[in-house]
Structures are given as C-alpha cells and as structure tokens.
Subunit: 589 residues, 2 copies
C-alpha cells in the first residue's frame, strides 16, 4: 500500500513532470524523497547518507536536463534512489509491497534512464568518457553527466577517467560530489587538495582538475537546490569537459546520518525512532575472532599490519585501529594499492594481513598475479563475501576461488570453522614462505576444532570414513556436506565419507589416493563458481581414473538479489537435489 | 668473452666502488654503459630508450646513496640495465656469453640490490610506500627512492600510490622520470600539466604533486650528472615524501633512439650499423589481418572503434589510426580505462574492439567482470600473448583462459588459423548480444578455412573422425594436435579423432555426446594454465561418465625466460610425451 498517497511525488511519473514545478514544490519533493529513503532503508536496509546528500543534485539534474536523452552516470550508483524515484520507479519507495521491485543500484532492466548496472566505485568518469566518444562518433550532441564522490576519486580508475576526459573536445559534465567522506574516512593527499579548494571556494591556483586541462567550477553548497539548478543551467550544452566541484553534506536532512557518516553510509534494517538495528548483533563473528587474534599477535611482538581499502567496518577493524593505530593502514578506495603495498611490507619484514571482499579483491587481480604471486612474498589475506549468495549481482562474490586458485605460489585456504580459521591465520602469519589467502566463511559461525596447525602440507580431514561415495565439502559448505552424508545414510543406506579439503589450491595426494581405493564417486561441494573452481581441480586429478566425480556449485552466471534458498534450489544445491544426482550416477555404474 | 676489458666499468663490482670516482670518470662510465646497452640489445633484443635516458639518474643514485641499505624501486624495471651493471652484474652486459645470465627486469634472485621482480607499470610508488611503512614500523631510517616514468603515471595505481605517499611522515623520494613519452605517445590531460611544469621550470602554482600535499623539486636536465648528484645529495635523508620531477631524454646519447622513441622503446635484435632488424619482418601476421578487416568494416560503414592501452605497435594499429583517426583510441597506460570506456562505447551503439596482451588485460579484471560481463554489452577483444611461452615471467600470458572463461556472459573464442580468426572477428562485430574475446594465436600464422560463420552456437570442427582417442586441440595448439594424431597412427596404430573446439567457454554438447559414444579417452591440449583452463571444463563435463580425460597445458607456476622447446619438455607437451601418457592410460583401461 502506498504509505503517502498525499505526496507530490505521486504526480511525478517521469522527469518531464518536474519541469513546471516551482522551487518550493521541488523543495517539497526533496523533503518527501528524504523521508522515503529513510522509510525504505530502515525497513529493508540500504544506502542512506549518499542518497540524502545527493537529493538536490538529482532534482536539479532532472529539472534542467532532458533524461534519458541527456544522460547521468552514477558512480557506484548507491546514490541513485532519488534518481529512481523521479524516473518511473517511485512505487518502489512509496509502497513497502513494492520495495523489492527496485534494486539498490542503477539497473538498465528497470528503466531507460539507467545505462549500466553498477556497484563498484570509480567507474563513472571512464564510462562517461566512453559514452562521449560513442556520441561523438555518431555526431550527436546530448549532455553527459558523470557523478562521482570524493571518496571514489582515490580509486585509480577515476584518475584514468579524468586523464582521458581531458582529451575530449565535446560535452562532458563531471560532478565531483564532495561530501568529505569515503565509506569510512577519506585517505590520502588528494583530500588535502580538495580541502584547499573548498577553503578557497575553488579559487586556489593549485587545482588537480585544471592541472589536467579540465575546465572547473566550484559550487559551495550542492544542497542548495536553486544554486544547483542555476549551475546546471549554465553548463548545459557546454562544448567541452568541465568539472563541477559540488560540496554536499553526506546524510543531509537527517541528523543521525550526519553525526555518524560511516554507520549511516549503508545500514541494515533499523528502527527509525530508536536508531537501533532490527536484527540484534551476532554474538560471535569470524571477523571479531580474526581481530582478537591479530591483537594477540601484536601484543606478542609480531609485526603484524592490518590493511583495508576503505571497508574497515565489515571486518571489525576499527577495534584493531584503536588498539594499534601504527599497525593499521586504510589506503582508501584503492584496492590495487592495498595489495601492492602489502607485498612491499612483506618484503620489508612486516606480516601484512589484507582484509578484502571477494568482489573488491578482483579489482587488484594484477597485483595478486604480478606483485604478490610472482614475487612469492608472504602476504596474508582474509577474503569475505566469497559466496554464491552475495545479494546484488554487482557484488557477486563467487569468482574468488577461480581467480585466486589459478595463481602460482598462492595457498588459498577455506576453513570450515572459527577454530580452523584462526589456526590457519596463525600459521599464515608465522610462515614466511608463501602468500596465503583465507576464505572467511559466510554462513553462521561454526565451532569445530582444527585438525592440523601447519598447513605447508595439506592433510585432509576425514571427518567420517565410509565407502562408495566421498563428499568433499569446502569451507562454509561444510554443514551442507554433513547434511548430505546424513541423508545418504538415511535415504539410500550409503555410508559416505566426509572430507574437509581445507585448501582449494593444493591437494592431499595421499588422501586422494586412499579415496580412490575405497570409493566409486567423489562429490565436491563449494560455495562458489564451478568454472575454474575447486571441483574442477578434483575432476582433473581423477580425469584418467575410474573414479567418477560430481561437482556442485554455481553455474557461470550472475544472480541479482536472489534469496539464498531460491538460489540453492536453482543451482541444485539442496541436500535432496544433491542426493538425487548422486543416486542417478550410482545407477549408471 | 669480455668485449671491453679496457672499460672502467670492469673496476665497478658494487656501488661502493663509485664513491671515489671523479665526475669525469662517472661520465666515462655513462658512455661505456650506453654502449653496452646498445651492444646487448642489438644482439638479443631489449629495452633501449628507457635505459639510455636513465643513465645519469642511476649513476647519481648509486654515487650518492648507499644501496642496498638505501633502496631504489624501479617502475616496470625495464630501465634497470645501468643499475644492474653497477650492482655486480656487469658481465651480463660486457660479455655476450653471459647476456643470458641477467634478465631484462629487476630480479631479487640476481642481486640484493633488487627487491621485486617487476615488469608491469605504475607499481613503484605503491611498492615504495609499502616499504616505507614497513621501515617505519621497524623504526629504521634508510632512504627509499621510487622511480616512475611520466608514461606510467597515467596508470591508476600510480595515482593511488601518490595519494597514499602523501600520508607518510617519513622519508620517500619519488623520482618522476619525465621523458615526455609513454611506450607510444603520452595520452591525456596529465601531460598538459606536466608540460606546464616543464615550461615554468617547476614554478607553476598548479602542481598535481603539491595538490596532494607532496613536497616537490624540479630538475631541468636529469641527464646532467652533476646536477643529479647534487639534487640527490640535497634530498638524501629527507624526513618526508618528496617528488623529484626530473626531465630526461628518452634514448639520450643515441640519435636513432631519440628520433624514433616508440621504435627504440623495446626492439628485437638489430644491426647496430644499419639499424635494421636481424630477423626479417614476417610477411603475414594475425595483427595485420585483423587491422585489414577492421579497415574494411569501417569502409563498409560499421562504427568500429579500435582501443589500445599504450601498445598500438604490437597490434599494427598505427596503420588503423592513420586511416581512421576518429575511430582510434589510445587511452595511455590505463588498462582499466580501456575496458570501461569500451563497455560504454558498446552501450552507445559503437562496436568497440579492445586490443590487449593477456598479461596486461589482467590489470582490468574487475572491469571485465563488473563492467563488461555483468552489463553483458557487446565489447569485442583481441588478446595477444596468451601462451605458456611468454618469455619473462613478469609478462606470463598463460592465465587468460582461466580468468576470462570463468566469467558469465562472455564468449572466449580460440581460432586455429587466420581465416578462422577473421571469421570470428566478423561475427563478433556483427552480433550485439554478448561480449566476445578472441585469443590471437601466438604460433606462426596458419591458413585453414573456418567451418562456421555464426558462433552464437559453437559447432565443433571434427577435422578427422576416428575412434578410441579424441584429441581436442585449442587455438594455436592445433598443429600440436595434428602431430599427436599423426604419431598415434604411426606409433600405436590408433585412428584418433581431431577436434577444434573453437571456444574455451561454451561447449558443443551434441558433439561431446557423440565423442562419448565412439571414444574411451579425450585428450585436451591448450596453450595456457591447466588450473581453471579449457581442459578442466571438459573434465567436469565428463566427470560422472565412463570417458577418461587427460589434460595438457602448463602447471600452476611461473616460468622465467625459459625457451619454448625447453618449456614444452618440462610441461610434457612434446608429441612423444603426450603419446606416452595416452598409451599409459589406455593400458589401464
């Protein structure tokens, strides 16, 4: 049910409907849309500060320009809620029954006003330059507006985009949305320069954008709707690239979001009155256990450094930072920098631990190959969000086993429990032979003892020794493996073996040989893509033998906002489906 | 035999030996070392311009600083020949018999004066920042000098490095070696800013480095040895990060290299007198055929754009640029930008074709995943250097099948011949459904007709229909496949089938089903890593069947400057070894 049938927003079906409105009416819309951001995000979780801060820029864009003829490209697009409300998708914000109709990022399937599905940072200028080149080749003249936050500017691709934007001899409007925040605090010298530009109201002679040959204009208050409108009117149809340096307030219009910008950058569902999360915090987490261990190590005199690229919160790293600020490095949104600097720290005798999400670590793939693996330096990494069920397709975390396990010299470990994870972490930090990546389980925390403490030779854990069928359950698919073994016993009276392979890169050849003697079928279960995954390594190992192998994981596709249980059904990952497949194969033997 | 027993360089066994020399003697060394660069490179090929230009910077560094206590980190390290000559490796330049002892990049195995094995650009500042952080954590105070070319500055990681360098409160000396060239011409607005700094002798108020809070000093002639020495003396032991903007001449001291900087950036062996290549140019090449086809397409009115990230030469793209400058885009050393802008051009109705080496494309992995694959836009890519035998481990091109074929929505095609490649290219440009990557064969050009012209459904080419054993030979391993089939017939009287699978991402299920009926063993041959490769896809397909599969390709390791024939032997890739393995498996059946 539409919670606000009285809202003026109900009259806005497309941006054209804004054109006749007065400033007061547009400001009324801003207020309504702020309320809708809060209502939706508090109900189902979402980005708050970025959407509140960008409200007036969005309204002004759609008031002045002619979307989708003129085009806006949002960086990360986590600030595109107001844009969505004004481009035919208001019901996804007005009516809780329709919250699910609209994703949290731009989505070309939803609207002609969206051009890319985006969820990673620092891409908007590069994309807009490409669109401008395409437009110029087609001899067209529409306006192109790229919006990028100051936080996203620290990512190298943003700089590559600026550098190439300067080559254009045609229209491009780059809105640098300077809200003085990254996801966490801004990091680096760039922000001294931006601060000086803010202090001098854009008058400082020293200007990164002008240095690169770009035209530049300063807007002191991007939350001033009238000012934004007149600025856009002045630059509309400009015949060359220009940077609008627009100062906005992250979380504008909502005091709690202004006071705690990192907490309100993205929040899970919360109570709008009390501000408390609706889901109580979990008592134990893998992240907390890792930070506890790192703190212990530093206390013991081990020169551990913790490195993040702007996402300390999801790894509980603020606790580490507070305790050992000199051992903590946030490089800002700069994933490549995080890996390269960690490699160098390892070279310098420090024990660096890089914390990264699977979906963001892929932004440093060359640094994993060329800097880390080739130099074979003992970097340690903790990888989160390595799972099939990652929510938004923009943040799909199912590729890491494939892109990491194919690298020489790297040991990629997949613990099944918190005890095993800490055991692996201790070994990873202690040894100095090789880079070690540890895949943090995404499923609820499990307690199981580790069965080895030196992982330089992988020794499979054979948790149950059976025959005929062997289940190899990787990392957080361990409980799925247990369930499959139990149901095989119950339903088919098969006494299957259950194995924890621990590593997705290295094989315990002795145990695999033993498997071969007592089993006809090996089944692999992994929370990731099948293509290039753990299962295929096992397939190859047994390729020329009589052992049959069945692999379970995700097919080569993106899944956008599909609930985990639905996904499991789609991907044949329920215990029942797995057992059906096993039964079918056994019947052919 | 040492060609120059009379050289002063013979006296220099380590940097300490420079300390007592006069300026005249140091200048004599510079002259000798220039001659040695030319002698070695003309004999075996190598980087010329970068090494000639950096001569005085290198001598000054080792004269002033105390290596390896003080440390220099070279970007790309293709300019490290003089450094190598001064750090115990002079014989690798004086004596042709020892040319092979020394690689073309820094190599920690060769010397304590090298800290990383490096061959990709834009990493040196990030690495030096990591080393500085490690040093500071250890409460040490050695000097750290990062050298980076102006061309490398356009890569995003360089900017991420500068941004984080500004956070240091300790020594870091960043030498921006401004020779006004990238591999090809510099690209982008950054170079307008650098030019203004050069014009004003560093006095311009607008200064990217100062903008980021970095100290800055301008050196007008970095080939003036005395000036470089006094500059280094002045900044030695500085207690904060500083950028030395040093203007040098690429190719200094050798007129042909100054006149043709791109040709003399890296050259294969050539005649020092005539300047001609020792190996005559091949008459036909895949690159030329591709450019011919693109020119035809543009002539036919197809809105094709060719995109490179600073390596037009290896793809024969200058010819395309000259013909259709408005259809040609060199984004500079900015691999991420190349892919993201191509994605946007595809969105804008252009048919972008990205030209990239396997080893450099991995620098844009997130753009392949998040921008290209997720948005499923019809970008076309030509990938070169996808081979096991890539020469330097820093440029190993054996990972692309793994990192590309695991991506959703992407079709990765592997032609066996020039006709098939052009046929695939035509289809790739014509269709607008999906991103298509084409793996350019690295082996000598082969002529074979294509057997299909629409690759939306892969139809395996069964070049020979036999039984018992089926050989699936991917791309440029086609001739290896032919040889294996011939020898199987000759030696074992086995009439093996020979199949061209065409795609490393998609399977012809009908033909695989047929294979299964007539064969007991499938053998895959691919010029790439086994881990995550084509073979494993086939392993998985047949995993639960009675068909046995044997995979041939490279193990998960780096190979540094190993000749192709030696590598083939190591990796069990000679026809004889393959047939032995086949025979062994057949005996167990």
């Amino acid at each position: 049910m539409n919670l606000h049938p009285d809202y003026l927003l109900n009259e806005i079906n497309e941006p054209q409907d804004l054109k006749g409105l007065s400033l007061a009416q547009l400001q009324q819309l801003a207020g309504e849309m702020r309320q809708l951001v809060l209502e939706r995000d508090s109900a189902i979780g979402g980005h708050i500060g970025p959407n509140l801060g960008i409200m007036e820029v969005t309204l002004a864009f759609h008031y002045v320009f002619d979307s989708p003829h003129d085009k806006v490209i949002w960086d990360v697009s986590h600030q595109s809620y107001p844009h969505k409300m004004l481009t035919g998708r208001k019901l996804g914000f007005l009516d809780p029954d329709h919250y699910g109709d609209v994703t949290g990022y731009t989505a070309p399937e939803e609207s002609d006003h969206d051009f890319f599905e985006i969820g990673h940072t620092s891409t908007s200028i590069a994309l807009a330059v490409g669109m401008a080149q395409a437009r110029d080749m087609r001899h067209k003249h529409e306006n192109l507006v790229a919006v990028i936050g100051d936080g996203s500017l620290s990512g190298g691709l943003a700089f590559e985009g600026l550098n190439n934007a300067a080559k254009l001899k045609s229209n491009l409007i780059i809105v640098v949305n300077d809200n003085q925040n990254s996801i966490a605090k801004n990091q680096g010298g760039l922000y001294a320069g931006l601060a000086e530009l803010r202090r001098t109201k854009g008058q400082s002679e020293n200007n990164l954008f002008k240095f690169m040959g770009l035209d530049y204009r300063f807007v002191a208050n991007g939350n001033d709707l009238a000012a934004m409108i007149s600025t856009f009117q002045e630059v509309k149809d400009i015949d060359h690239p220009i940077v609008l340096h627009v100062v906005t307030q992250k979380g504008a219009g909502y005091a709690p979001a202004i006071a705690e910008p990192e907490r309100y950058h993205w929040r899970p569902a919360f109570d709008l009155t009390t501000g408390e999360n609706k889901q109580p915090a979990v008592k134990e987490s893998y992240s907390a256990a890792v930070v506890d261990e790192l703190i212990r190590q530093v206390e013991d005199g081990i020169p551990v450094a913790a490195i993040t690229a702007a996402i300390p919160g999801v790894f509980d790293l603020h606790r580490f930072e507070q305790r050992f600020p000199d051992h903590y490095f946030d490089v800002g949104i700069a994933e490549q920098m995080a890996v390269s600097s960690a490699v160098a720290m390892a070279q310098g005798g420090i024990r660096p631990v890089v914390f990264q999400n699977s979906t963001f670590l892929q932004r440093a793939f060359d640094q994993l190959v060329h800097d880390m693996a080739l130099n074979d330096l003992p970097v340690v990494m903790i990888v989160r969000n390595g799972t099939i069920a990652s929510g938004s397709a923009t943040h799909q975390g199912s590729f890491d086993i494939s892109y990491i396990s194919s690298l020489p010299n790297v040991e990629y470990l997949a613990p099944t429990s918190v005890e095993e994870m800490i055991s692996m972490l201790r070994w990873a930090i202690k040894q100095t032979e090789t880079p070690v990546v540890i895949r943090q389980p995404e499923k609820p925390l499990l307690h199981r003892p580790a069965t080895q403490d030196d992982y330089s030779m992988i020794d499979y854990e054979i948790a149950h020794q059976g025959s005929e069928v062997a289940i190899m359950a990787v990392g957080d698919f361990w409980t799925l493996g247990e369930e499959v073994v139990a149901q095989l016993k119950r339903k088919l009276n098969i006494d299957a073996s259950l194995i924890n392979p621990k590593s997705v890169t290295n094989i315990d050849r002795e145990d695999l040989h033993y498997l071969q003697e007592r089993h006809d079928l090996v089944v692999t279960l992994e929370d990731g893509n099948l293509s290039g995954g753990f299962g295929e390594m096992i397939d190859r190992y047994f390729g020329a033998t009589n052992i049959k192998v069945l692999n379970f994981g995700a097919p080569r596709e993106f899944a956008d906002n599909v609930p985990a249980d639905v996904l499991a059904e789609w991907y044949h990952l329920t215990p029942e489906q797995i057992i059906d497949d096993i039964e079918r194969v056994l019947h052919t033997m």
